[in-house]
């Protein structure tokens, strides 16, 4: 097991290096003078020159690449955002927790709903329940997130006025992110404040803000988890040990939740881990829709503003996270399935 982890970790190094190289060379694809493009049409020659110097655009590409990697490895220097004029690491340190918070909230909705829908449609196969559950899943994968988001906003914010349309925190809340935010995830901060002082206002505001984007973001992973749960459950339910359990008179609920669920959980866990990709992809749109200041929104903004260093470092960061997630999914798979562990 340990050897497997180490081997996979070592293997990720060339993958990530390749990623940095691709991202790096992508700047070369920019039509025209990259420094000029980044500086914008109305930039002064000084600004263009500054960018050229700062990014070493006047040197050969391998020198640039070498310096980029060197700074990355020795100082963890991700560079400077051109648009925000701040270190990229700074921007990431606020954007990433926001995305993690939102993604986690979406998974908290998607996982139980998806698993229950999936189990229900497998157990009641070919009945109305199955049809309803599979149609829900189908609608979930076919729904454009941005449309769902608009409808949610229209119904719950504008018509009913229950929930806010954007942002992470109300102005009325006595909450200063710079001072009061410990974790940079506001729901968690709110919870901590509530536990410490008994004032739950911050927590309430934070939850109210996260509900709509989290629901919008949860649809696709929910649908995929439910489809996967259904098919792996059907596979397990068809096996001999289930028939044996039923034959010897185990209660039907026991058969489903103990015998079948344990065996199907393997695939459910793996698929849920791999939803990280879907969730992040969805976060790009959801965050932009709900003005949620996370990594997705920052990336879209940096693309529109031609902030290439930000695009490079942001993507590199996402790439690292993905390599890590895939690794974790593999390791979990091994832990849950003794056959895989032995094989390694």
């Amino acid at each position: 097991m340990f050897a497997l982890v180490v081997r996979r970790l070592l293997f990720s190094i060339p993958v990530l290096l390749l990623l940095t190289l691709v991202l790096f060379l992508a700047v070369k694809l920019v039509p025209g003078d990259a420094a000029l493009v980044m500086a914008g049409e109305r930039a002064t020659p000084e600004k263009v020159e500054y960018i050229r110097q700062a990014l070493n655009l006047d040197k050969p590409w391998y020198t640039q690449y070498g310096m980029y990697i060197w700074r990355l490895v020795t100082d963890f220097d991700l560079g400077q955002s051109l648009f925000h004029d701040r270190p990229i690491a700074d921007l990431l340190s606020t954007a990433v927790p926001a995305t993690v918070e939102l993604g986690f909230a979406a998974l908290v909705i998607a996982l139980p709903v998806g698993v229950v829908l999936g189990i229900a449609s497998a157990v009641f196969r070919n009945t109305l329940i199955d049809k309803a559950a599979t149609s829900t899943a189908l609608a979930g994968v076919s729904m454009p997130i941005f449309w769902l988001a608009l409808i949610l906003m229209y119904v719950f914010s504008i018509q009913l006025g229950w929930l806010p349309t954007s942002g992470r925190m109300s102005d009325e809340a006595l909450f200063d992110p710079a001072l009061d935010s410990v974790t940079r995830m506001y729901t968690l901060d709110g919870l901590l404040i509530g536990l410490k002082t008994g004032e739950w206002e911050v927590f309430q505001y934070a939850v109210k803000h996260i509900v709509l984007p989290a629901v919008a973001l949860s649809t696709i992973p929910m649908a995929q988890i439910s489809r996967m749960t259904r098919s792996s459950f059907l596979e397990v339910l068809g096996q001999d040990f289930i028939r044996t359990a039923r034959a010897k008179g185990v209660r039907p609920s026991m058969v489903i939740f103990k015998h079948a669920f344990r065996n199907a959980s393997l695939q459910i866990v793996t698929v849920s881990m791999l939803q990280a990709g879907t969730i992040f992809g969805g976060a790009v749109i959801t965050e932009t829709m709900f003005a949620w200041p996370g990594l997705g929104k920052v990336l879209v903004e940096s693309i529109s503003s031609r902030d290439f260093p930000m695009v490079q470092s942001g993507t590199l960061f996402v790439g690292c996270v993905f390599v890590l997630f895939n690794l974790t999914a593999d390791v979990l798979y091994g832990l849950l399935d003794p056959r895989v562990k032995k094989g390694a």
């Binding site: 991202l23 694809l29 920019v30 229209y154 992809g281 790009v284 990336l299 693309i303 993507t315 390599v323």
Partner: protein, 294 residues
């Protein structure tokens, strides 16, 4: 005799399956109807999609609401453009940015998959490593990066979505080739001295067509969604071009005054994507039993 040969063709089997399944047939009908609407847009649209009415006729509601009229059946948008006409013309761009990338993805993915599967060894190893990396990446992010570096615009958008869909084709073609290449018919073709490209093209490729039809349909759905999403973010078509995702983006600031601006384009995207997904799912069950089990 001729009939039995035809019956085995994946295209015929696809058609038989669509005709036999009510839901699939309905979905197929919706997709075909949308395609026809796109083709005949100039004859079907009551107004020009870009004709504005800034003085009178901004934000007219659909005909069934008070203040609406039958000249603008689905109302007008914030600059007085007819929503129905924009929807009809929008189907052209929307279907295009859904289907062109998938062809593009096939163009790259299929040869890569064929090469990896048939040649095996180091070629396979190298190609699949790259594919794995690309697959692990959220495809919308991949598309975003490509748009970022190539610049915004509809053509770059299609390249971006297409490149992002290529690895899925490479994967599926490779695994199909792997399962076909040790069959006897391949061995016999080899022993008869057929050249490798000929074996791949004449013998293996026809046997994976049904997997490809399924993948193509499902990818068409996801590419359409993704492209609409990118245009919604303002990274695709430029105004005033009518496109469903861009129409939603136009409408999002007119919640209070014009719900029809966001409801109808959304329904259009949802219907087409859902139809393609239903079609893909039922075809997979019928044509590709191995994949259906997964």
């Amino acid at each position: 005799m001729l009939h039995s040969v035809n019956a085995r063709s994946p295209w015929v089997r696809t058609w038989t399956e669509i005709r036999g399944n009510k839901l699939a047939f309905l979905s197929f009908g919706i997709v075909v109807a949308t395609a026809l609407i796109a083709v005949f847009a100039p004859w079907l649209a009551p107004h020009s999609p870009e004709a504005m009415q800034l003085v009178e006729g901004r934000l007219l509601p659909p005909f069934f609401m008070e203040g609406g009229n039958t000249s603008h059946v689905l109302g007008t948008d914030a600059t007085g453009r007819d929503v129905l006409s924009r929807l009809i013309y929008g189907s052209r761009v929307s279907l295009c940015i859904g289907i062109v990338p998938v062809f593009f993805g096939c163009l790259i993915g299929i040869p890569v998959g064929l090469a990896a599967g048939y040649l095996g060894g180091k070629v396979d190893e190298a190609l699949m490593r790259v594919t794995d990396i690309l697959l692990a990446f959220p495809s919308i992010l991949l598309a975003l990066i490509i748009v970022a570096f190539l610049g915004q615009g509809i053509f770059n958008l299609m390249i971006a979505v297409g490149l992002a869909s290529a690895p899925a084709f490479a994967r599926i073609v490779r695994s199909a080739v792997l399962s076909e290449r040790n069959r006897e018919y391949v061995a016999s073709a080899e022993s008869l001295g057929s050249a490798t490209p000929r074996i791949v093209w004449r013998h293996i490729f026809p046997n994976i067509t049904s997997s490809l039809i399924v993948l193509f349909t499902i990818n068409f759905a996801s590419a359409l969604l993704e492209a609409a999403g990118l245009s919604f973010l303002g990274l695709g078509v430029k105004p005033p071009t009518a496109e469903w995702g861009a129409m939603l983006a136009d409408g999002k600031n007119y919640f209070y005054d014009g719900w029809w601006m966001i409801v109808f384009p959304g329904i259009a995207i949802f219907l087409v994507v859902m139809s393609l997904n239903i079609l893909g799912d039922s075809l997979r069950d019928a044509l590709d039993p191995r994949a259906a089990k997964r």
